[in-house]
């Protein structure tokens, strides 16, 4: 009898605690606030620059400093943190279709400008640019056009993406090679140097195939983009559909040779991080990448002490450099005062001072062309200063596949690279597969 009573008591307690738990679990505060009790404007922001993200500290600084300005003193931020751009892109696409966008919409990796603009859920920023010619003058036509949909500007570009070659000065010296001041004159010269390095037992190049094959993509883009007018035009085309052009096929052939002759054994199937570690450890001589890698050269967790001083910078052969405008940040707010506040933040984010700050803290390249670079940067970060200097010497600029190709074609590039590297398919067949993949977007 007593046992029965205890059992019943326990069952009641269990049901009670479950009910209480469920009640306690509900009732989250998810109303979209316009202003808080103090009358401040509350801006909802989804921030993916969190955790170990390269720009986490910079964005934390930016939000904090904005609130100290005249335009931002009346603004409060309500953050939702979403670590990684992949997760961010998944969620922002859902929010675009549900119409529940944050007030400031960051553009994270994937270009969502057109999707957001066509959904009618983001603000047309053209009037704000027209009202403030000084602000508009900070951006060149290419950057603004990249963020324009149907004649209206929706995105505020915050940086430019560039990439070139990092080389290990010590390894070049060991192989008796004198590095060029700006770039090798031609790809033939570049491959001759690769042979010289190889003859001294040094692996010449860093390459990869996994995760979209970032490094190989940079080599391939350079091989196409510097191959005459036709190649350059092709590599500056948004969403190309024909990959069986002489320039692309020639580039694929060179990539196959590079995998076979000039890179590490783990490049096929390899991801960016282990390949970068090869470069940090002095195991490969040349590595293509952008300025965001520079802070890593001084990161004790990643690179050996003194590595920063061993790194040199050069453009791609033929004075080529990858340079693409970036998809800009947008405004998802619908109320006038929130739109004003969001635009004020975007103006603050793209102010010349903060473009320099972003460069110093993260390696993000200024979107404005003629910013005055402080002398202190040359002393504190000579490599970064050199990047700013060398990019003006680029004679040929071109895009890269992650910015310009269809997503499924980028995936095909990554999955077919091992086949190309192992010689299971010819360069022509590799290009045919890319063409087939791109054609699926036309159906």
């Amino acid at each position: 009898m007593k046992r029965k009573f205890v059992k019943r008591l326990m069952a009641s307690a269990l049901i009670g605690s479950m009910a209480l738990g469920l009640v306690a679990c509900s009732g989250g505060d998810n109303d979209k606030e316009t202003s808080d009790d103090s009358g401040k404007i509350v801006l909802n922001v989804i921030n993916y620059h969190v955790g170990t993200d390269y720009a986490a500290d910079y964005y934390s600084y930016l939000f904090e400093e904005f609130q100290k300005t005249e335009a931002g003193k009346n603004v409060e931020f309500n953050f939702e943190e979403i670590p990684t751009t992949d997760a961010y892109n998944q969620k922002i696409k859902l929010l675009i279709s549900s119409g529940d966008l944050p007030d400031i919409v960051f553009n994270g990796g994937n270009n969502i400008t057109e999707l957001a603009a066509k959904s009618g859920k983001v603000a047309d920023l053209t009037p704000y640019f027209d009202e403030d010619p000084e602000w508009k003058a900070l951006f060149d036509d290419t950057s603004l056009e990249f963020n324009t949909v149907d004649g209206k500007i929706y995105g505020v570009p915050v940086s430019k993406e560039i990439s070139y070659i990092y080389y290990n000065k010590e390894l070049f010296e060991k192989a008796g090679i004198e590095a060029p001041e700006t770039a090798f004159a031609s790809w033939d010269e570049f491959f001759e140097v690769c042979d010289q390095l190889k003859a001294k037992g040094i692996t010449p190049l860093g390459m990869d195939t996994a995760d979209s094959g970032w490094l190989t993509n940079l080599w391939m883009s350079a091989l196409i983009g510097t191959n005459g007018e036709a190649g350059n035009e092709w590599m500056n085309t948004m969403y190309p559909t024909d990959f069986n052009t002489p320039e692309v096929e020639a580039a694929a052939e060179k990539i196959q040779t590079m995998f076979k002759e000039y890179t590490t054994a783990d490049a096929v199937g390899g991801k960016y991080d282990p390949m970068a570690t090869h470069f940090f450890n002095g195991e490969v001589a040349m590595f293509p990448n952008g300025p965001w890698m520079i802070p890593d050269f001084q990161e004790p967790e990643k690179a050996p002490e003194g590595f920063y001083d061993k790194v040199g910078i050069m453009l791609m052969p033929g004075n080529g450099m990858e340079m693409v405008p970036t998809p800009g940040d947008m405004v998802g707010a619908t109320e006038e005062e929130k739109i004003e506040a969001a635009v004020a933040f975007l103006k603050f984010e793209t102010s010349p001072e903060n473009q320099i700050k972003a460069l110093e803290m993260t390696g993000l390249q200024p979107v404005s062309n003629d910013l005055e670079i402080p002398d202190t940067l040359t002393e504190s970060d000579p490599l970064m200063a050199q990047v700013l200097e060398i990019q003006n010497k680029a004679e040929v600029t071109y895009g890269q596949n992650q910015a310009y190709w269809y997503q499924n074609t980028i995936d095909t590039f990554s999955t077919e690279l091992p086949e190309l590297a192992y010689g299971n398919i010819t360069p022509k067949e590799f290009c045919e597969k890319l063409t087939e993949s791109a054609a699926k977007n036309q159906e």
Binding site: C25, G28, D53, I82, P83, T84, D100, T277, F280
Partner: protein, 280 residues
């Protein structure tokens, strides 16, 4: 002759142990590898996947707590997953029993509806769920995730349990009814104790599936109040800056509960999996 048979017994035993050791290594290998990697530096991890760490210290574990609110998300996971397991097991235990034992109108339709829900991809229902949850005021709440996880877990658990109930002899219930037991008494005192291995299995399956669930935990939450461990793990994988050392430390900390739960419940799971395999 005797010696020959002894040799064959020893060789059979050796083969058996080699076989078991091989599969144990396959199963344990990744966990041990993650554990060892959780003490390595970034450079050590990327230089060689199989090397030994230069030193064993807790720096990576400290970093794991620094980058992400892992403790908070861990607690959320325990509450959400624990409750959803309880809800799923309670509902399925009753529902599957009725379906497996009784015939009634619309029974086939109910089974079809439950089966159909197995076919729904998460992406297809995320937007309607998002909108409904916002209207109901359960967006970004633990309750919201508990409801989704329980609903997602019910179909598979339902099929496991209906099959399990069918292995329990009807004669036991008939004897209970003859002895004067009511329906509820029969279910509570006769059927449920016999169905324990099956219930443990569905509890375990539900636990593993929901503990690792990422998509809804991301889509249906916006803050720290209801986010779970899989989201926390993303904090170590930022753009151009992955921290694998801290990630492995976090993985070790978050995978341990799953292993412990399995160790505690493994006997019942084994019983459930082998139940009905041999009919007397």
């Amino acid at each position: 002759m005797k010696q020959t048979s002894q040799i064959s017994i020893i060789s059979a035993k050796t083969a058996k142990y080699i076989f078991m050791l091989f599969f144990s290594l396959i199963a344990i290998g990744p966990i041990v590898w993650a554990f060892i990697s959780s003490f390595k530096t970034y450079a050590e991890i990327n230089s060689s996947a199989l090397s030994w760490p230069s030193s064993f210290n807790l720096d990576n574990y400290k970093a794991a707590f620094m980058y992400a609110p892992i403790a908070k998300y861990f607690l959320n996971s325990v509450i959400i997953v624990g409750t959803s397991v309880l809800v799923t097991v309670t509902l399925v235990a009753m529902c599957a029993y009725i379906i497996s034992r009784f015939n009634f109108k619309l029974k086939t339709l109910i089974i079809l509806l439950i089966s159909a829900s197995l076919m729904l991809p998460a992406q297809a229902i995320s937007q309607p769920l998002f909108a409904i949850f916002q209207k109901l005021g359960i967006f970004d709440t633990k309750l919201g995730l508990i409801i989704v996880y329980s609903a997602m877990g019910i179909p598979m658990s339902f099929f496991v349990m209906t099959s399990y109930y069918k292995t329990i002899s009807m004669a036991l219930e008939e004897s209970a009814y003859i002895d004067g037991a009511s329906f509820l008494q029969t279910f509570w005192h006769i059927i449920l104790p016999l169905a324990k291995p099956g219930l443990v299995t569905i509890a375990l399956l539900q636990f593993i599936n929901t503990w690792n669930e990422f998509y809804f935990a991301l889509m249906l939450t916006s803050g720290d109040t209801a986010r779970t461990v899989p989201i926390a793990l993303n904090y170590y994988m930022g753009t151009f800056a992955n921290n694998y050392s801290a990630l492995f430390a976090a993985v070790v900390m978050t995978v341990l509960p799953t292993i412990f739960v399995f160790i505690i419940l493994q006997r019942q799971v084994m019983e459930s999996l082998t139940a009905g395999a041999v009919k007397g």
